[in-house]
């Protein structure tokens, strides 16, 4: 069976490529934000999952309500993130949370469509999500 040799050769060459890429400094931090992953796994992800569950339940109740109490709202605000990874994380989190979608995303302004007025009031500069993503990206090891 040549399997162990093939597997070992595959792992070996993958590690070699990673090592070369790091030495050449082409494993870029924006494309592969691995440095954020471990920290975020225990601080940001649990909070985001809780937010998703809570707002999914609210959207469920709106959908199943016979009166369908929606009040669609567009809201603009300036995000406080500096890095691209931070902005993308913030925009993706807004869209992942049911009831809010980031429609236009730029460094200066987010345009968010919300299913209800209350949902629109939740996303803003200095809001909970804005602050948490800002704290996530402002870890000192991001700016060596």
């Amino acid at each position: 069976m040549p399997a162990p040799f093939l597997l070992a050769a595959g792992v070996g060459s993958a590690l070699l490529v990673v090592w070369f890429a790091r030495r050449l400094n082409i494993a870029d931090r924006e494309g592969h934000p691995v440095h954020l992953a471990w920290h975020a796994l225990f601080s940001y992800w649990p909070w985001l999952l809780k937010e998703i569950a809570v707002s999914a339940w609210q959207v469920c109740r709106i959908v199943l309500d016979p009166k369908l109490p929606v009040s669609p709202t567009l809201v603009r605000f300036k995000p406080s993130q500096i890095t691209d990874v931070g902005l993308v994380t913030h925009a993706n989190s807004i869209t992942l949370t049911p009831g809010t979608i980031s429609v236009e995303v730029s460094r200066d302004e987010f345009l968010v469509h919300a299913l209800t007025r209350e949902g629109a009031a939740g996303v803003r500069r200095g809001g909970e999500m804005d602050k948490r993503v800002r704290a996530l990206e402002s870890r000192p090891e991001l700016f060596p």
Binding site: L68, P72, L74, N92, S93, L96, P98, I101, E104
Partner: protein, 116 residues
């Protein structure tokens, strides 16, 4: 034995809850008044719906190759589906599909929709 029973129960609870969210997402897709609000209903299906079903299947699979693959699918959905929703709504707005909006309240947070 007992552990098997518990993981089976948890897995079935996840599968049923996930199916519930998928069905509600479908109902919302039909009931909502315009394109943008329909996307909100659809996001129920691809976050909690798909997430809970994948979690339920993961509990059935355990620490196997199938489990690892399910985990990768979950990650892919979590990163790709908001991007797709964003691209869809942005394309609709750029093409000039005006969203039906609720009458704005006297609130500084509310802003009228801009002409793209």
């Amino acid at each position: 034995m007992l552990l098997d029973l518990f993981s089976d129960l948890a897995s079935w609870a996840c599968l049923l809850a996930g199916s519930f969210f998928c069905i509600v997402g479908g109902i919302g897709l039909l009931r909502m008044p315009d394109f943008y609000t329909r996307v909100h209903a659809a996001s129920l299906t691809d976050t909690l719906g798909a997430g809970l079903i994948l979690l339920g299947l993961l509990l059935q699979a355990g620490f196997t190759l199938v489990g690892a693959k399910l985990l990768m699918i979950a990650l892919l959905i979590f990163f790709a589906s908001p991007t797709a929703s964003h691209a869809l709504t942005r394309a609709a707005l750029v093409r000039g599909l005006a969203p039906k909006l609720a009458p704005p309240l006297a609130d500084p947070l509310e802003t009228p929709p801009s002409k793209p």
